[in-house]
Symmetry: C2
Subunit: 241 residues, 2 copies
DNA sequence: AGTCTCTAGAGGTCAGACCACAGTATACAC
DNA sequence: GTGTATACTGTGGTCTGACCTCTAGAGACT
Protein backbone atom coordinates (compact mmCIF):
# COMPACT_ATOMS: atom_id res chain seq x y z
CA UNK A 1 0.00 0.00 0.00
CA UNK A 2 0.86 3.55 -0.67
CA UNK A 3 0.43 4.62 2.94
CA UNK A 4 2.97 2.31 4.47
CA UNK A 5 5.60 3.24 1.94
CA UNK A 6 5.00 6.91 2.51
CA UNK A 7 5.29 6.52 6.24
CA UNK A 8 8.37 4.38 5.81
CA UNK A 9 9.95 7.15 3.77
CA UNK A 10 9.07 9.75 6.38
CA UNK A 11 10.66 7.58 9.05
CA UNK A 12 13.82 7.06 7.04
CA UNK A 13 14.03 10.79 6.27
CA UNK A 14 13.78 11.57 9.93
CA UNK A 15 10.56 13.51 9.32
CA UNK A 16 8.92 11.12 11.75
CA UNK A 17 10.60 10.12 14.97
CA UNK A 18 9.43 7.91 17.85
CA UNK A 19 6.82 9.74 19.88
CA UNK A 20 5.84 12.11 17.11
CA UNK A 21 2.20 12.69 16.30
CA UNK A 22 1.05 12.25 12.72
CA UNK A 23 -1.43 14.67 11.15
CA UNK A 24 -5.15 14.08 11.75
CA UNK A 25 -6.63 11.46 9.49
CA UNK A 26 -8.64 13.94 7.45
CA UNK A 27 -5.66 16.20 6.75
CA UNK A 28 -3.21 13.36 6.16
CA UNK A 29 -5.59 11.71 3.72
CA UNK A 30 -5.90 14.94 1.75
CA UNK A 31 -2.10 15.35 1.66
CA UNK A 32 -1.69 11.90 0.14
CA UNK A 33 -4.66 12.30 -2.22
CA UNK A 34 -6.37 9.22 -0.86
CA UNK A 35 -9.61 8.70 0.99
CA UNK A 36 -9.76 8.58 4.72
CA UNK A 37 -10.86 4.95 4.64
CA UNK A 38 -7.77 3.89 2.74
CA UNK A 39 -5.53 5.89 5.00
CA UNK A 40 -7.10 4.20 7.99
CA UNK A 41 -6.36 0.80 6.50
CA UNK A 42 -2.70 1.68 6.26
CA UNK A 43 -2.56 3.21 9.73
CA UNK A 44 -4.24 0.12 11.13
CA UNK A 45 -1.61 -2.04 9.49
CA UNK A 46 1.18 -0.02 11.03
CA UNK A 47 -0.55 -0.08 14.40
CA UNK A 48 -0.75 -3.86 14.23
CA UNK A 49 2.98 -4.03 13.60
CA UNK A 50 3.53 -1.94 16.71
CA UNK A 51 4.95 0.94 14.67
CA UNK A 52 2.16 3.33 15.63
CA UNK A 53 -0.05 3.80 18.66
CA UNK A 54 -3.60 5.05 18.19
CA UNK A 55 -5.37 6.91 21.01
CA UNK A 56 -9.07 7.43 20.51
CA UNK A 57 -10.01 11.08 20.79
CA UNK A 58 -6.40 12.19 21.03
CA UNK A 59 -4.38 11.32 17.94
CA UNK A 60 -2.04 8.82 16.34
CA UNK A 61 1.61 8.61 17.32
CA UNK A 62 4.78 6.88 16.24
CA UNK A 63 5.60 4.25 18.85
CA UNK A 64 8.23 5.09 21.42
CA UNK A 65 9.49 3.04 24.33
CA UNK A 66 10.98 -0.41 23.99
CA UNK A 67 10.34 -1.85 20.53
CA UNK A 68 8.40 -5.06 20.10
CA UNK A 69 6.51 -6.97 17.43
CA UNK A 70 3.04 -5.97 18.47
CA UNK A 71 1.22 -7.01 21.58
CA UNK A 72 -1.05 -9.59 20.00
CA UNK A 73 1.12 -11.20 17.38
CA UNK A 74 2.65 -13.96 19.47
CA UNK A 75 -0.61 -14.69 21.25
CA UNK A 76 -2.38 -15.15 17.95
CA UNK A 77 0.09 -17.27 16.08
CA UNK A 78 0.52 -19.18 19.32
CA UNK A 79 -3.17 -19.98 19.36
CA UNK A 80 -3.03 -20.88 15.70
CA UNK A 81 -0.10 -23.29 15.99
CA UNK A 82 -0.64 -24.57 19.48
CA UNK A 83 2.41 -23.16 21.18
CA UNK A 84 2.99 -24.69 24.59
CA UNK A 85 3.97 -23.12 27.84
CA UNK A 86 7.27 -24.98 28.14
CA UNK A 87 8.24 -23.87 24.64
CA UNK A 88 7.58 -20.31 25.68
CA UNK A 89 9.90 -20.69 28.63
CA UNK A 90 12.53 -22.41 26.55
CA UNK A 91 12.56 -19.45 24.21
CA UNK A 92 12.61 -16.99 27.06
CA UNK A 93 15.46 -18.74 28.81
CA UNK A 94 17.52 -18.86 25.66
CA UNK A 95 16.98 -15.17 24.98
CA UNK A 96 17.40 -13.84 28.47
CA UNK A 97 20.48 -15.86 29.35
CA UNK A 98 22.16 -14.57 26.21
CA UNK A 99 20.97 -11.07 26.97
CA UNK A 100 22.37 -11.27 30.50
CA UNK A 101 25.73 -12.45 29.24
CA UNK A 102 25.89 -9.66 26.69
CA UNK A 103 24.84 -7.13 29.30
CA UNK A 104 27.71 -8.27 31.48
CA UNK A 105 30.09 -7.72 28.59
CA UNK A 106 28.78 -4.45 27.27
CA UNK A 107 26.71 -2.79 30.01
CA UNK A 108 27.63 0.78 30.90
CA UNK A 109 27.57 2.61 34.20
CA UNK A 110 24.15 4.07 33.50
CA UNK A 111 22.74 0.57 33.16
CA UNK A 112 24.38 -0.58 36.35
CA UNK A 113 22.87 2.34 38.20
CA UNK A 114 19.43 1.69 36.78
CA UNK A 115 19.66 -2.00 37.71
CA UNK A 116 20.68 -1.17 41.26
CA UNK A 117 17.72 1.15 41.52
CA UNK A 118 15.29 -1.54 40.44
CA UNK A 119 16.76 -4.14 42.76
CA UNK A 120 16.30 -1.74 45.64
CA UNK A 121 12.70 -1.12 44.65
CA UNK A 122 12.05 -4.83 44.43
CA UNK A 123 13.27 -5.39 47.97
CA UNK A 124 11.02 -2.55 49.08
CA UNK A 125 7.95 -4.01 47.36
CA UNK A 126 8.46 -7.53 48.63
CA UNK A 127 4.95 -7.70 50.01
CA UNK A 128 3.16 -5.81 47.26
CA UNK A 129 3.07 -8.39 44.47
CA UNK A 130 1.63 -6.19 41.74
CA UNK A 131 4.09 -3.35 42.24
CA UNK A 132 6.88 -5.87 42.59
CA UNK A 133 6.05 -7.25 39.16
CA UNK A 134 6.41 -3.83 37.57
CA UNK A 135 9.96 -3.47 38.80
CA UNK A 136 10.68 -7.06 37.86
CA UNK A 137 9.68 -6.30 34.28
CA UNK A 138 11.72 -3.11 34.20
CA UNK A 139 14.77 -4.93 35.53
CA UNK A 140 14.70 -7.44 32.70
CA UNK A 141 14.09 -4.63 30.24
CA UNK A 142 17.20 -2.79 31.40
CA UNK A 143 19.23 -5.97 31.04
CA UNK A 144 17.98 -6.17 27.49
CA UNK A 145 18.96 -2.59 26.81
CA UNK A 146 22.38 -3.10 28.34
CA UNK A 147 23.01 -6.00 25.98
CA UNK A 148 23.49 -3.51 23.16
CA UNK A 149 21.36 -5.56 20.79
CA UNK A 150 17.92 -3.96 20.33
CA UNK A 151 16.76 -6.77 18.06
CA UNK A 152 17.14 -9.40 20.74
CA UNK A 153 15.63 -6.94 23.19
CA UNK A 154 12.59 -6.49 20.95
CA UNK A 155 12.14 -10.24 20.62
CA UNK A 156 12.37 -10.67 24.37
CA UNK A 157 9.87 -7.88 24.88
CA UNK A 158 7.42 -9.66 22.62
CA UNK A 159 7.82 -13.03 24.31
CA UNK A 160 7.66 -11.65 27.82
CA UNK A 161 4.69 -9.39 27.18
CA UNK A 162 2.66 -12.33 25.96
CA UNK A 163 3.29 -14.03 29.31
CA UNK A 164 2.46 -10.94 31.34
CA UNK A 165 -1.20 -11.65 32.00
CA UNK A 166 -0.48 -15.07 33.37
CA UNK A 167 2.35 -13.77 35.48
CA UNK A 168 0.13 -11.14 37.03
CA UNK A 169 -2.08 -13.88 38.38
CA UNK A 170 0.78 -16.13 39.38
CA UNK A 171 2.55 -13.46 41.35
CA UNK A 172 -0.37 -13.30 43.76
CA UNK A 173 0.31 -16.85 44.86
CA UNK A 174 4.02 -16.43 45.06
CA UNK A 175 5.19 -16.46 48.63
CA UNK A 176 8.89 -15.96 48.27
CA UNK A 177 9.30 -12.65 46.50
CA UNK A 178 12.24 -12.09 48.80
CA UNK A 179 14.05 -15.02 47.21
CA UNK A 180 13.22 -13.66 43.79
CA UNK A 181 14.65 -10.28 44.74
CA UNK A 182 17.81 -11.97 45.96
CA UNK A 183 18.28 -13.65 42.61
CA UNK A 184 17.85 -10.41 40.76
CA UNK A 185 20.47 -8.91 43.03
CA UNK A 186 22.89 -11.66 42.13
CA UNK A 187 22.26 -11.15 38.46
CA UNK A 188 22.93 -7.46 38.93
CA UNK A 189 26.20 -8.15 40.72
CA UNK A 190 27.39 -10.48 38.00
CA UNK A 191 26.57 -7.90 35.34
CA UNK A 192 28.31 -5.15 37.26
CA UNK A 193 31.36 -7.36 37.81
CA UNK A 194 31.41 -8.09 34.07
CA UNK A 195 31.16 -11.85 34.53
CA UNK A 196 29.11 -13.06 31.57
CA UNK A 197 29.10 -16.69 32.57
CA UNK A 198 27.90 -15.92 36.07
CA UNK A 199 25.23 -13.61 34.77
CA UNK A 200 24.05 -16.30 32.39
CA UNK A 201 23.88 -18.92 35.12
CA UNK A 202 22.08 -16.70 37.59
CA UNK A 203 19.55 -15.69 34.97
CA UNK A 204 18.93 -19.29 34.07
CA UNK A 205 18.41 -20.31 37.68
CA UNK A 206 16.04 -17.41 38.17
CA UNK A 207 13.93 -18.26 35.14
CA UNK A 208 13.76 -21.96 35.86
CA UNK A 209 12.48 -21.15 39.30
CA UNK A 210 9.91 -18.79 37.83
CA UNK A 211 8.84 -21.54 35.46
CA UNK A 212 8.43 -23.99 38.31
CA UNK A 213 6.38 -21.46 40.27
CA UNK A 214 4.12 -20.85 37.31
CA UNK A 215 3.58 -24.55 36.75
CA UNK A 216 2.28 -25.01 40.27
CA UNK A 217 -0.31 -22.29 40.26
CA UNK A 218 -3.09 -24.65 39.25
CA UNK A 219 -4.10 -27.65 41.38
CA UNK A 220 -2.29 -30.72 40.09
CA UNK A 221 -5.42 -32.83 39.70
CA UNK A 222 -6.75 -30.61 36.95
CA UNK A 223 -4.02 -31.51 34.49
CA UNK A 224 -4.54 -34.25 31.97
CA UNK A 225 -1.96 -36.98 32.29
CA UNK A 226 -1.72 -37.47 28.56
CA UNK A 227 -0.80 -33.88 27.81
CA UNK A 228 1.73 -34.87 25.17
CA UNK A 229 -1.08 -35.62 22.77
CA UNK A 230 -2.94 -32.42 22.00
CA UNK A 231 -6.51 -33.50 21.38
CA UNK A 232 -7.65 -30.18 19.99
CA UNK A 233 -6.54 -26.66 19.43
CA UNK A 234 -8.75 -25.62 22.31
CA UNK A 235 -6.79 -27.79 24.71
CA UNK A 236 -3.50 -26.61 23.35
CA UNK A 237 -4.57 -23.04 23.98
CA UNK A 238 -5.33 -23.70 27.60
CA UNK A 239 -1.70 -24.56 28.23
CA UNK A 240 -0.33 -21.82 26.03
CA UNK A 241 1.78 -18.85 27.06
CA UNK B 1 -12.03 -4.94 18.37
CA UNK B 2 -14.91 -7.28 18.00
CA UNK B 3 -13.57 -8.85 14.82
CA UNK B 4 -10.27 -10.04 16.20
CA UNK B 5 -11.91 -11.59 19.23
CA UNK B 6 -14.44 -13.38 17.09
CA UNK B 7 -11.74 -14.76 14.82
CA UNK B 8 -9.67 -15.73 17.84
CA UNK B 9 -12.63 -17.69 19.15
CA UNK B 10 -13.12 -19.42 15.84
CA UNK B 11 -9.47 -20.41 15.79
CA UNK B 12 -9.61 -21.75 19.33
CA UNK B 13 -12.80 -23.68 18.57
CA UNK B 14 -11.14 -25.27 15.61
CA UNK B 15 -13.72 -23.71 13.29
CA UNK B 16 -10.82 -22.06 11.52
CA UNK B 17 -7.64 -23.95 10.75
CA UNK B 18 -4.48 -22.92 8.87
CA UNK B 19 -5.19 -22.74 5.17
CA UNK B 20 -8.94 -22.29 5.57
CA UNK B 21 -10.73 -19.59 3.66
CA UNK B 22 -12.92 -17.17 5.59
CA UNK B 23 -16.31 -16.07 4.26
CA UNK B 24 -16.43 -13.19 1.77
CA UNK B 25 -16.25 -9.79 3.40
CA UNK B 26 -19.85 -8.91 2.62
CA UNK B 27 -21.25 -12.12 4.12
CA UNK B 28 -18.91 -12.14 7.10
CA UNK B 29 -19.79 -8.55 7.92
CA UNK B 30 -23.49 -9.36 7.87
CA UNK B 31 -22.93 -12.38 10.13
CA UNK B 32 -21.21 -10.21 12.72
CA UNK B 33 -23.71 -7.35 12.36
CA UNK B 34 -20.99 -4.85 11.52
CA UNK B 35 -20.24 -2.83 8.45
CA UNK B 36 -17.86 -4.05 5.83
CA UNK B 37 -15.46 -1.20 6.56
CA UNK B 38 -15.14 -2.22 10.19
CA UNK B 39 -14.66 -5.83 9.28
CA UNK B 40 -11.91 -4.85 6.87
CA UNK B 41 -10.14 -2.97 9.63
CA UNK B 42 -10.05 -6.12 11.72
CA UNK B 43 -9.00 -8.34 8.84
CA UNK B 44 -6.23 -5.90 7.98
CA UNK B 45 -5.01 -6.07 11.55
CA UNK B 46 -4.86 -9.85 11.45
CA UNK B 47 -3.14 -9.76 8.08
CA UNK B 48 -0.49 -7.46 9.49
CA UNK B 49 0.15 -9.92 12.29
CA UNK B 50 0.69 -12.63 9.71
CA UNK B 51 -2.38 -14.53 10.90
CA UNK B 52 -4.24 -14.13 7.62
CA UNK B 53 -3.21 -13.86 3.99
CA UNK B 54 -5.30 -11.71 1.64
CA UNK B 55 -5.35 -12.46 -2.09
CA UNK B 56 -6.97 -9.81 -4.23
CA UNK B 57 -9.72 -11.26 -6.38
CA UNK B 58 -9.48 -14.66 -4.72
CA UNK B 59 -10.27 -14.55 -1.03
CA UNK B 60 -8.88 -14.31 2.47
CA UNK B 61 -7.22 -17.27 4.13
CA UNK B 62 -5.84 -18.29 7.49
CA UNK B 63 -2.08 -18.41 7.20
CA UNK B 64 -0.44 -21.75 6.75
CA UNK B 65 3.18 -22.70 6.28
CA UNK B 66 5.90 -21.80 8.76
CA UNK B 67 4.63 -19.25 11.26
CA UNK B 68 6.30 -15.87 11.56
CA UNK B 69 5.57 -12.42 12.93
CA UNK B 70 4.65 -10.78 9.66
CA UNK B 71 6.91 -9.98 6.79
CA UNK B 72 7.23 -6.25 7.42
CA UNK B 73 7.33 -6.01 11.17
CA UNK B 74 11.06 -6.43 11.71
CA UNK B 75 11.91 -4.26 8.72
CA UNK B 76 9.78 -1.44 10.04
CA UNK B 77 10.79 -1.40 13.66
CA UNK B 78 14.33 -1.85 12.42
CA UNK B 79 14.06 1.32 10.38
CA UNK B 80 12.48 3.07 13.32
CA UNK B 81 15.14 2.13 15.84
CA UNK B 82 18.15 1.92 13.59
CA UNK B 83 18.91 -1.77 13.82
CA UNK B 84 22.32 -2.63 12.44
CA UNK B 85 23.46 -5.47 10.29
CA UNK B 86 25.81 -6.99 12.87
CA UNK B 87 23.00 -7.00 15.42
CA UNK B 88 20.87 -8.89 12.97
CA UNK B 89 23.57 -11.50 12.60
CA UNK B 90 24.15 -11.70 16.32
CA UNK B 91 20.48 -12.50 16.80
CA UNK B 92 20.50 -14.97 13.98
CA UNK B 93 23.57 -16.77 15.26
CA UNK B 94 22.15 -17.04 18.75
CA UNK B 95 18.86 -18.44 17.46
CA UNK B 96 20.19 -20.81 14.86
CA UNK B 97 22.97 -22.29 16.97
CA UNK B 98 20.43 -23.06 19.68
CA UNK B 99 18.05 -24.44 17.08
CA UNK B 100 20.76 -26.67 15.64
CA UNK B 101 21.63 -28.04 19.06
CA UNK B 102 17.99 -28.76 19.83
CA UNK B 103 17.54 -30.38 16.44
CA UNK B 104 20.43 -32.68 17.21
CA UNK B 105 18.76 -33.67 20.46
CA UNK B 106 15.19 -34.01 19.27
CA UNK B 107 15.23 -34.45 15.50
CA UNK B 108 13.37 -37.46 14.12
CA UNK B 109 14.09 -39.67 11.16
CA UNK B 110 11.78 -37.71 8.92
CA UNK B 111 13.80 -34.58 9.59
CA UNK B 112 17.06 -36.36 8.89
CA UNK B 113 15.72 -37.56 5.58
CA UNK B 114 14.49 -34.11 4.62
CA UNK B 115 17.84 -32.57 5.55
CA UNK B 116 19.72 -35.13 3.47
CA UNK B 117 17.48 -34.32 0.56
CA UNK B 118 18.20 -30.62 0.77
CA UNK B 119 21.94 -31.14 1.12
CA UNK B 120 21.88 -33.20 -2.04
CA UNK B 121 19.95 -30.50 -3.87
CA UNK B 122 22.40 -27.87 -2.71
CA UNK B 123 25.33 -29.81 -4.14
CA UNK B 124 23.42 -30.13 -7.38
CA UNK B 125 22.67 -26.41 -7.60
CA UNK B 126 26.19 -25.31 -6.80
CA UNK B 127 26.38 -23.13 -9.88
CA UNK B 128 22.81 -21.81 -9.88
CA UNK B 129 22.94 -19.26 -7.06
CA UNK B 130 19.24 -18.41 -6.96
CA UNK B 131 18.06 -21.99 -6.82
CA UNK B 132 20.78 -22.78 -4.35
CA UNK B 133 19.42 -20.12 -2.02
CA UNK B 134 15.97 -21.70 -2.02
CA UNK B 135 17.34 -24.99 -0.75
CA UNK B 136 19.54 -23.16 1.71
CA UNK B 137 16.49 -21.49 3.21
CA UNK B 138 14.57 -24.76 3.34
CA UNK B 139 17.47 -26.50 5.05
CA UNK B 140 17.50 -23.97 7.88
CA UNK B 141 13.72 -24.18 8.09
CA UNK B 142 13.85 -27.94 8.56
CA UNK B 143 16.45 -27.53 11.29
CA UNK B 144 14.05 -25.15 12.99
CA UNK B 145 11.21 -27.62 12.70
CA UNK B 146 13.36 -30.44 14.01
CA UNK B 147 14.16 -28.41 17.11
CA UNK B 148 10.66 -29.09 18.38
CA UNK B 149 10.17 -25.47 19.41
CA UNK B 150 7.88 -23.65 16.98
CA UNK B 151 8.25 -20.37 18.85
CA UNK B 152 11.97 -20.19 18.26
CA UNK B 153 11.34 -21.36 14.71
CA UNK B 154 8.88 -18.52 14.15
CA UNK B 155 11.34 -15.97 15.51
CA UNK B 156 14.08 -17.30 13.27
CA UNK B 157 11.73 -17.20 10.30
CA UNK B 158 11.04 -13.54 10.95
CA UNK B 159 14.68 -12.59 11.33
CA UNK B 160 15.84 -14.57 8.32
CA UNK B 161 13.05 -13.39 6.05
CA UNK B 162 13.98 -9.79 6.69
CA UNK B 163 17.50 -10.56 5.47
CA UNK B 164 16.31 -12.44 2.42
CA UNK B 165 16.40 -9.59 -0.08
CA UNK B 166 19.95 -8.73 0.75
CA UNK B 167 21.00 -12.35 0.61
CA UNK B 168 19.56 -12.76 -2.85
CA UNK B 169 21.91 -10.10 -4.11
CA UNK B 170 24.86 -11.34 -2.11
CA UNK B 171 24.57 -14.87 -3.33
CA UNK B 172 25.31 -13.72 -6.88
CA UNK B 173 28.78 -12.63 -5.84
CA UNK B 174 29.46 -15.73 -3.81
CA UNK B 175 32.01 -17.91 -5.51
CA UNK B 176 32.28 -20.79 -3.11
CA UNK B 177 28.83 -22.27 -2.91
CA UNK B 178 30.57 -25.62 -2.81
CA UNK B 179 32.13 -24.73 0.51
CA UNK B 180 28.77 -23.58 1.78
CA UNK B 181 27.22 -26.89 0.77
CA UNK B 182 29.98 -28.74 2.58
CA UNK B 183 29.21 -26.88 5.77
CA UNK B 184 25.55 -27.71 5.52
CA UNK B 185 26.50 -31.30 5.08
CA UNK B 186 28.53 -31.24 8.24
CA UNK B 187 25.68 -29.67 10.15
CA UNK B 188 23.42 -32.40 8.86
CA UNK B 189 25.82 -35.11 9.96
CA UNK B 190 26.10 -33.67 13.43
CA UNK B 191 22.33 -33.49 13.74
CA UNK B 192 21.94 -37.04 12.50
CA UNK B 193 24.61 -38.28 14.87
CA UNK B 194 22.80 -36.50 17.73
CA UNK B 195 25.80 -34.39 18.69
CA UNK B 196 24.32 -31.09 19.84
CA UNK B 197 27.64 -29.42 20.54
CA UNK B 198 29.01 -30.29 17.12
CA UNK B 199 25.85 -29.09 15.44
CA UNK B 200 26.05 -25.83 17.32
CA UNK B 201 29.67 -25.26 16.37
CA UNK B 202 29.16 -26.10 12.72
CA UNK B 203 26.19 -23.82 12.51
CA UNK B 204 28.11 -21.00 14.10
CA UNK B 205 31.03 -21.41 11.70
CA UNK B 206 28.63 -21.47 8.79
CA UNK B 207 26.84 -18.29 9.83
CA UNK B 208 29.99 -16.37 10.63
CA UNK B 209 31.27 -17.18 7.20
CA UNK B 210 28.00 -16.02 5.67
CA UNK B 211 28.26 -12.82 7.64
CA UNK B 212 31.77 -12.21 6.39
CA UNK B 213 30.67 -12.83 2.81
CA UNK B 214 27.81 -10.39 3.17
CA UNK B 215 30.02 -7.72 4.65
CA UNK B 216 32.30 -7.78 1.60
CA UNK B 217 29.64 -7.34 -1.02
CA UNK B 218 30.10 -3.57 -1.18
CA UNK B 219 33.44 -2.00 -2.15
CA UNK B 220 35.35 -1.22 1.03
CA UNK B 221 35.95 2.43 0.20
CA UNK B 222 32.27 3.26 0.36
CA UNK B 223 32.02 2.71 4.08
CA UNK B 224 32.32 5.58 6.51
CA UNK B 225 35.12 5.10 8.96
CA UNK B 226 33.17 6.62 11.80
CA UNK B 227 30.27 4.20 11.55
CA UNK B 228 30.00 3.85 15.31
CA UNK B 229 28.29 7.23 15.49
CA UNK B 230 25.00 7.07 13.61
CA UNK B 231 24.53 10.53 12.19
CA UNK B 232 20.95 10.05 11.08
CA UNK B 233 18.28 7.48 10.78
CA UNK B 234 18.85 7.45 7.05
CA UNK B 235 22.42 6.36 7.49
CA UNK B 236 21.49 3.76 10.02
CA UNK B 237 19.01 2.32 7.56
CA UNK B 238 21.61 1.93 4.88
CA UNK B 239 23.47 -0.59 7.03
CA UNK B 240 20.37 -2.32 8.29
CA UNK B 241 19.28 -5.90 7.76
C1' DA C 1 -9.93 28.46 44.26
C1' DG C 2 -12.40 24.71 42.97
C1' DT C 3 -15.87 22.35 40.34
C1' DC C 4 -18.82 21.79 36.58
C1' DT C 5 -20.38 22.03 31.82
C1' DC C 6 -19.62 22.87 27.13
C1' DT C 7 -17.09 22.46 23.04
C1' DA C 8 -13.47 21.56 19.48
C1' DG C 9 -10.97 18.12 17.47
C1' DA C 10 -9.41 13.64 17.27
C1' DG C 11 -10.41 8.67 16.04
C1' DG C 12 -14.48 4.94 15.13
C1' DT C 13 -18.40 3.42 12.49
C1' DC C 14 -21.66 3.29 9.02
C1' DA C 15 -24.01 2.79 4.26
C1' DG C 16 -23.93 2.17 -0.49
C1' DA C 17 -21.81 2.80 -4.62
C1' DC C 18 -18.15 1.81 -7.81
C1' DC C 19 -13.31 -0.04 -9.23
C1' DA C 20 -9.75 -3.78 -10.01
C1' DC C 21 -8.32 -8.34 -10.11
C1' DA C 22 -8.55 -13.64 -10.93
C1' DG C 23 -10.69 -17.54 -12.54
C1' DT C 24 -14.12 -19.71 -15.20
C1' DA C 25 -17.57 -20.25 -18.54
C1' DT C 26 -19.00 -19.24 -22.98
C1' DA C 27 -18.85 -17.98 -27.75
C1' DC C 28 -16.46 -17.58 -31.74
C1' DA C 29 -12.99 -18.45 -35.38
C1' DC C 30 -10.06 -21.63 -37.43
C1' DG D 1 -12.16 -30.61 -32.51
C1' DT D 2 -9.08 -27.19 -30.94
C1' DG D 3 -7.69 -22.88 -29.55
C1' DT D 4 -8.33 -18.20 -28.64
C1' DA D 5 -10.96 -14.24 -27.41
C1' DT D 6 -14.64 -12.47 -24.75
C1' DA D 7 -17.97 -11.91 -21.04
C1' DC D 8 -19.35 -13.08 -16.52
C1' DT D 9 -19.06 -13.97 -11.60
C1' DG D 10 -17.19 -13.40 -7.23
C1' DT D 11 -13.59 -11.66 -4.59
C1' DG D 12 -10.96 -7.87 -2.34
C1' DG D 13 -9.88 -2.44 -2.85
C1' DT D 14 -11.37 2.32 -2.82
C1' DC D 15 -14.31 6.23 -2.46
C1' DT D 16 -17.74 9.57 -0.46
C1' DG D 17 -19.79 11.99 3.21
C1' DA D 18 -22.43 11.54 6.99
C1' DC D 19 -22.78 10.53 11.96
C1' DC D 20 -21.07 8.64 16.66
C1' DT D 21 -17.81 8.45 20.62
C1' DC D 22 -14.04 9.77 23.26
C1' DT D 23 -10.53 13.12 25.31
C1' DA D 24 -8.86 17.23 26.93
C1' DG D 25 -9.06 21.90 27.59
C1' DA D 26 -11.63 26.39 27.85
C1' DG D 27 -14.88 28.74 30.02
C1' DA D 28 -18.65 29.72 33.29
C1' DC D 29 -20.42 28.96 37.58
C1' DT D 30 -20.32 28.30 42.62
Amino acid sequence: MQVVNHVRTMIVNGTLKPGDQIPPERDFARQLNISRATLRTGIGYLAALGVMKIKHGVGTFVADGPPDFGRDSLTFIGALHGFQSWQMFEARILLETALAALAAERGKEEHHAALAEEVAEMFAMVDKPNEYLVHDVVFHRIIAQASGNPILAAIMETVVSSMYDKRRKTVEWATDLRESAEMHREIYRAVRARKPQDARKMMERHLRMAQAAQGMEKPAGKRLSNAAEPTSVAHALSTTC
